[in-house]
Amino acid sequence: MTILTAKDIISGYTKVDILYNVNIKVEQGQIVSIIGPNGAGKSTLLKTIFGILKPRHGKVELKGEDITGLKPDKIVQKGISYVPQVDNVFPSLTIRENLEMGAFIRNDDYSGRIEDIYTLFPVLKDKSNQKASQLSGGQRQMVAMGRALMLDPGLLLLDEPSAGLAPRLVSMIFEKIIEINASGVAMIIVEQNAREALKMADHGYVLAMGKNVLDDTGEALLTSEEVGRLYLGG
């Protein structure tokens, strides 16, 4: 079943368009990776899907329902969560409070869900009452992902989850992403680290200059000569 489709998206900031007729599709349980050079519009696409930017043209559909132009706080209620690339934690709040904020729209008892997040990222449990500002980059990324998972979303949007992390932490975060996906969460991942992102992807899209260039299974893109030459550095 198709969870999300973005059709013919034209979007960008107030005065400049970044995306020109971009199309992507996510099937149930898939990891979809979006790769491409800097300035290709990858983050812009995530922001447009999540309602932070309003597309000038095109349509975003979640399970057949038109969600184009809805604001982020409404999109969250539809079961999509988003982890921004930077500033993705509340620095003066404790880890536990960060997770609670992820569950802000829940009115039921979500303590079990917090335990789930601690099981996924055990290191966070010990630091539960520490402020997020005191965490390392990798731990912050875990808090950011944990916050986004509090609502048990059907689709998770990750903007450069490995950005700025040490290599050892990068592979750890990717392992966690695979683990989260295995629990049934579909994902769209935007990544600079194209090779790793395609390895775990069911489907991959290559964007350049705000346009779709290629799309295929992750494996096919990894072995494609053109992708290798242009986007994977030989």
Partner: protein, 304 residues
């Protein structure tokens, strides 16, 4: 000297109430509200209206209230005035500041609009009450109690400290324990991420104005009880408020509390050395010094 320090703590605790509101609002919407001092005046005069017009009109007898310089009416007037000014602050935001915010107006336009709002509030007070001084209960003796070290304190002042303590403890618990309080801190930290998390930030802004306005009203009334009411009282508080806010690192509630106390104590203690007329200049000098040497305030290390 010890007495001046105690008076400074009383004045400082009143400044803190205003400064905390100012800093909370700044923390959320990055906006320096020049009308905040006049919200303090509004609170004081609304309480005066309730104690001297509204409640006497009901015909209930006027009695004193314990050893304090006000009658039982104040027990009703205090919370009611806080609520009303909370509402006034929300109203100001909805009909004025929010419109400008949505147009992405720059900081100068926002500052000027709040300056305009402050004139409007002050002029309304002048029209209704004139420019005379008022007391909540004129003609009452205000005896002081003697404490060791020759400190003379009026029961009013002890009550003021107690009320400020209650209000600040209440606010602290609200911010730390409740969902709405935590969401307010989250929004102050990072409004974009708050929106992304599904927090209704417009609602948070309304709550923040309400709390800021209510605390300002409390500060204004307490100053009225301690000293007197005057249409320019809140306006005169503006420099101490900003000095306290900047001293305590803008956006930091606990910083504003400490900043308020420091400003209050410095102002009172200064009267031992310089003419009391120059008292307001002390806050101004402190503000200039902080801006020159530590522009981010005393607590700029962490965000809290």
């Amino acid at each position: 000297m010890a007495e001046l320090i105690v008076y400074g703590i009383v004045l400082g605790s009143i400044i803190s109430l205003g400064a905390i509101g100012l800093t909370l609002v700044y923390g959320i919407i990055r906006f320096a509200n020049f009308a905040h001092g006049d919200l303090m005046s509004a609170g004081a005069y609304i309480a005066l209206f309730i104690t001297s017009v509204a409640l006497p009109w009901t015909g209930l007898p006027h009695t004193t209230f314990g050893p304090f310089s006000f009658g039982w009416e104040m027990v009703i007037a205090f919370p009611v005035s806080m609520l009303i000014v909370g509402g006034v602050a929300i109203g100001l935001d909805q009909i004025l500041y929010q419109k400008l915010r949505n147009k992405n107006s720059n900081a100068v336009i926002m500052a000027m609009s709040s300056l305009g709002a402050s004139f409007i509030i002050r002029m309304i007070i002048l029209i209704l009450w004139g420019s005379d001084f008022f007391f909540y209960r004129p003609g009452v003796l205000r005896p002081a109690i003697e404490f060791p070290l020759g400190i003379k304190i009026r029961p009013d002042q002890i009550l003021i400290l107690f009320i400020v303590f209650l209000l600040i403890t209440g606010l602290h618990l609200f911010l730390k324990m409740t969902k709405m309080g935590k969401a307010m801190r989250a929004t102050a930290d990072n409004m974009e991420l708050a929106k992304v998390s599904g927090i209704d930030t417009e609602k948070i802004i309304i709550w923040t104005w309400c709390i800021g306005g209510a605390l300002a009203a409390a500060g204004g009334i307490l100053y009225g009880i301690d000293v007197q009411l005057h249409p320019a009282m809140g306006w005169n508080f503006l420099i101490p408020l900003f000095a306290a806010t900047i001293l305590g690192t803008i956006g930091n509630m606990y910083g504003a509390l400490i900043g308020g106390l420091i400003i209050g104590i410095s102002q009172q203690v200064s009267t031992a050395f310089i003419m009391p007329t120059y008292k307001p200049a002390v806050a101004f000098v402190i503000m200039i010094l902080i801006l020159l040497f530590r522009p981010k305030g005393l607590f700029s290390g962490g965000k809290e």
